[in-house]
Symmetry: D3
Subunit: 319 residues, 6 copies
């Protein structure tokens, strides 16, 4: 069993399996420059910088991002931070019996549990057209939903982060519909499942890490893409494009960012659209806080600043 | 039994008890001007404009705002709106056995039920200093809390509106603490009860209607007033002013408006402060929607615009 | 032949045909109030306030907005403005041989000339899919395009204003494609025709005057409606929803307001999208100026302020 | 003939003439540091980083920015980018028969063609005072206009960029005056020529590259400088300072940035001032797009982000 | 001696001299309308609304704004405010021996004292060019400076308000130069005298009341007008337009509003320009407070809101 | 006597005493990396970068920030900047007879003179409760006030900077109270002394350099902390918490940043609060200018940009 990165201490010598998250061939700044590999090693507990000073030309062509490696190394302090000096490194083979999914950050609940919860929520929709429309859109991205993050770095930026975000929002949505029965729970559920449904196509991700935005993601954006999917679904399912149900679902999707400057071309004008925006905000903001606290060393009183929270850090208060 | 104002129809003749919400002596614009009374009658279902053309000098000195009257009148349409032509009017006496509280807008739950719920929440606080501090502040305004609105017109602007807002937020708070156990439920509950605790002193209200802001309300504001109360409570209760518990409660109060331009001198930097802001926002915004739908005639598809919702109206969608 | 409203002078007595643009039954503020009609008369040259003091109950039920009337009246100055005292008034009959279209503000070019120009532009598109998609969307609103204004009051707010706006933009577009050949002229033309194509459905108008926004107009908005139409057209025409041509047309429509706070969910990222925004802005702003100068009396040096031009007035400079 | 920088490929060995755009003497980070020269080589097709590891003390004192050199070098990939390893380098002499103007970025039209076009436009002004005033201001900077860029980096940031910007705006202006005859074409032309006329004095540039802003440029700014020139011209030409023509030209100059936060102390209030702002914006924005596409490798789908276009990149769409 | 308007009480009958500040002929809203005069009477202590119900056609043609009248009237309460019922009214003649200047609001110091103080400050300038330039500009408006207000309503909006503003700023300027000797006192004094020097030409005023902005005031604005005057002065006085002294004075004028959105095309970049902005702000804001307290009845705890102070009212605190 | 850092010239060899402001152990980027010390040396005249290439392991453990050292060094130019090559370095001992206070930036007036001036101002307060309250708060931080800076880097960021800021503001306050006698000078003086009184607790500083914000500083902020101190003082001194004097002092403190986005939960609504904001702004802004000019080499025409002045640089104008 490999030592977790977050448990590394100065002076440790170790052998274990890790993921290469980033790798770059660099040259020392000598008059006769020498190649070395500047690496970021990762596992599910965090990242660490590593240097492989003895890298050969072959090494440089062997290792690349997202590849699993077995490393023998030494943990040292460099400029007040821990860093690994790589002594030996090789790619893993089938015999090592390790899987990339063991080395990445994931939602706290397994994707295989999240998807069925969303499907149950769809199943529970009582309005037939809403159920068909949500099903249509969900099927489009069901496979990607297994792994898609909810954002590049803002919140839920990990494996199955989007599915986890939806499931948690469904919990809040269920509560709020019980508390305020004037809300239509079909619209709340549908809005929650649909609001970010096009994100897996807006962003190109691998193992929960966003590599880039797709061209369509940049030029159309996930909000308008999802609105288009409703149109597409309606035509294919034979639902009247002028019906209130189409108008309502489109409105929920389009308005969920609340303001034009946050990307919504219209502002919430249905009770459920107002609710959807705040359900989304509450889940996203609190998850940012929770994630940041978890990835900040216990010994630190303050987290790094969080862009989505007015660039403020969070304090780990002891009462 | 008096006919409810929201049930008035053109041509109705009626006799019943109503509240004078506003009254002004005016003069007709004739060359020989004549006095009349321009009145706003109210009951728990709404308001209506009324004219008393035959007002005598004595009448002008008899009637004033917040006084209960028995009115014989005629409902007419004037400029596309209903209006009452007063035929006879007199102040009520004890014999009429009517009470002002029957004629005002109130929270949907009785104040006598709301206060004990808040007190139970205080009772359930497990941290002794927090419990003492919250109790101290709550006792300061307990009497006013029976009737205080949460705002002048923004949201929960009615009898016991503030207590109702707190109780509903406690429900959300309880849910969110169950969903996210890393939140300290004592801080969440305390934050909810304290966040607007100084509003009954910031605003001068009668029967749930804000008449004005107090001088202290304008010059110090309810946020800083509540922060001062924590200081006062700590000194009187002998709690260390430099303790984390004092810092935390002050932070929750000071940061709950989230941004400087919304009145918070610091931004949320505790997990519970982030949660508090969104619990407050969700309850306030959804209550605005619910209240506006209820006070808009069923026959109207759209409510009037709501200032607190980006000046948007809400649509009464039929699926 | 009726005297044009803009030629009315104090003391004029006249008989002529006019349009009732607004009408309201009011009562004089006497102790014994008396009914009268407060009217706004209009013709193609402008509006004027009119009072009919002698209105009978029948009159009140006879006249309504958008009805044509024959009026005998007297022009008077009241509070520094001209006003008509109505002496006699009756609805027009077929014998009067007047048509409502003679009494409304229209684009300077006849709708029957504008539509064919747009159709020629569509015809000239060289990319077949673009041509089919634009045709599909244009056919949806071709009838309404005969009369639809481009806005409620902002710019081109008159009969056939939208078609006129499109035609003028096509002229600018043609010039700019000649000047900058790197621009794709198919995309420029398509973007111009499509950018406001859903406005006739977003707004409910009559004779070029916007009466209200439709529910869909409020909840979805013309930008997203037009994007949806592209999706609809693609499906019905069998064009690949993932093709670049669909992405490009959607992008042009979605981004043409340039900024999120102006209603665009994405910002221009194609050269033609950048061009489209400025072609639209230039035509709209200069038309505001031209319209305002035309409807301001020649004797006035300054127009009223124009909301769309930073609330500035325009000066009629003599060199 | 030298190979163009944009045609360099990994492994190329070359000999050719280039411009030193930037040069800095650095030291290797060894315990016994060694001098080397860190250079940016340029030609009209682009820039490339170059290192001269064998630089002697004499070399360090020989080469400086804006000097032309003959280089023997080797093209290598370093950190995913091409870079030149300099083998031999010397300054050019008269015998090399190369001129700096062959190595800099220039407007696509020759300065010697641009200036006469502007002069013809001045010639075509029909209002005598306007013609004299424009001539006076133009003569002030005519020499600098041969080379001046329109901005430091924002748009038209190259040799004769300003003259090119003016000429292209004159084309748009001519079109828009034909399309909208109510515009005074003398004011449009004068506004175009004058709007940035003080930029060659506001910014200190060499070969179309801005080195810095002048003190006057920082403390007064090109907008107010140009307004002052009108005053100066009027006095020297004997034109009444209180005349409408002076007021109009000053207004066009002062208002052409449209908003206070963009540097205009007054907002457009003449039809021609509104037009001028949009002619300027359209030309500047589209040139940014065109320039950025041209300097981005054909193989790249997306340009770098453009600050003047809401920090958006432009997509090279294939239909 | 006339009773001061601020001393009027309900029921008073009076005879005295007053100024007609506003007057409008209106008609009663009867079926047979009757003319009356709706008047605002003023004296140096304040304004009051007055009605002259018995106005004849001759009266309507006799009285106009800014005319002095002798009035016999009755003070009444109407809609919670005092109002005068005019019994008799006539224009004053020479025999009445009253002067309009006795009836208007003025700076607390006499204009005849203020102008010499400014002239002394000019005299005390040690730099000859600065002295000549300031003198030139001051002479342009010296006559108007006797009466000109500093603004329409914002601050110092009364007879000689501008001169008073300058004099008070000179006092602050003198203090700050003593406190911080690194400031150049010539530039501070010159900046103070010049910063608003073009306001008497930007605004058309009579007896300290702004009637309108001039065309030049709207199209060029007082900031750029003053900058132009410096250019004009330099040419006429033979001072080098490129000299630092011209650049400095222009900079002080142009930057004194501090931000682009407040009308300054450049921001302060000389120490004296930073100082000038804060001297101006401090004097203007405190004068707003002082003026508003003086024109608010002593019995009122709070003044009306002040637009220039974030729309806040000022509280009359008793310690 | 040591040579002042600001007097260092290229090629100088020197021996002298300096303060280590920052120090970091780094490694050369060789294949066999070597330790060296990267140091920032400081004295009261400024800072300079220094490298100690021959640092031993012992050296790395010996030197730390804020320690005084004797250095033998050589001044060299590296990348256009002066830099020190350390030849020998040792910590100072008692025999060296140097004190850290000789090596830090300080207010231009000695702290031992500043504190008595503030105490005299407190003594001169005529209102007893104000005097007691101010005394209470001042005593809380009197010791820290000897050295506390007024800000981290914004303004007065040096030893005794806060005391100096207060003393200078008292001078302005005294002047403005003389100029405008309607201002209550007790409130002005109290407001000046109290407005930043909690800064020494909000920020953790050493020798006038801010190391960090305290937790309370981040979570409560100096504005609310000072308001709380007033509450605390009132309780301990037995002054009525509801009295006007408490309300006034709290208001002055809370509103002195003027706007919500600048950290004030309420806006100025007392004349003295308006004055306090502008006294504070004027002193802070002019001090930024003065400090920046002093720490910029005389040979530089322009200072670096100043964040607190709209990111503008200041020009050293010669007249």
């Amino acid at each position: 069993m490999s030592v977790l990165i977050k448990d590394f201490k100065d002076g440790d010598e170790f052998v274990g399996y890790y993921l290469i998250k980033e790798i770059e061939a660099k040259q020392t700044n000598n008059s006769i420059p020498k190649d070395f590999l500047d690496i970021v090693l990762a596992d599910s507990s965090g990242n660490i910088s590593a240097k492989y000073w003895e890298a050969s030309k072959t090494d440089i062509e062997t290792f690349f991002p997202m590849c699993l490696v077995k490393v023998q190394g030494l943990v040292q302090v460099y400029r007040e931070k821990l860093q690994v000096k790589v002594i030996r490194i090789r790619k893993t083979t089938e015999q090592d019996a390790v899987s990339i999914t063991d080395f990445i950050r994931s939602a706290p609940v397994d994707a295989n549990e999240l998807i069925p919860i969303i499907e149950q929520a769809i199943d529970s929709l009582s309005h037939n057209d809403i159920k068909s429309l949500v099903t249509f859109c969900f099927e489009k991205v069901k496979d990607k939903m297994q792994s898609a993050p909810a954002a590049k770095s803002h919140h839920h930026a990990y494996f199955a982060g989007l599915a986890y975000h939806i499931v948690r929002m469904l919990e809040i949505g269920e509560f709020i519909c019980r508390q305020r029965p004037f809300l239509n729970s079909d619209l709340i559920k549908a809005g929650i499942i649909l609001h970010d449904i096009a994100k897996p196509v807006e962003m190109i991700s691998e193992y929960g890490m966003v590599l880039d935005y797709s061209n369509q993601g940049k030029l159309v954006g996930h909000i308008s893409m999802a609105a288009n999917w409703i149109t597409e679904a309606a035509i294919i399912l034979g639902i009247d494009l002028e019906s209130n149900v189409i108008m309502a679902l489109q409105h929920l999707i389009l308005s969920h960012h609340n303001l034009g400057e946050w990307g919504s071309p219209v502002q919430p004008q249905l009770p459920e659209a107002v609710a959807l925006h705040y359900i989304d905000a509450m889940d996203a903001k609190l998850q940012m806080v929770e994630d940041m606290l978890q990835t900040t060393a216990e010994s630190e009183e303050w987290t790094p600043v969080i862009r989505g929270l007015e660039n403020k850090a969070i304090y780990r208060l002891k009462l």
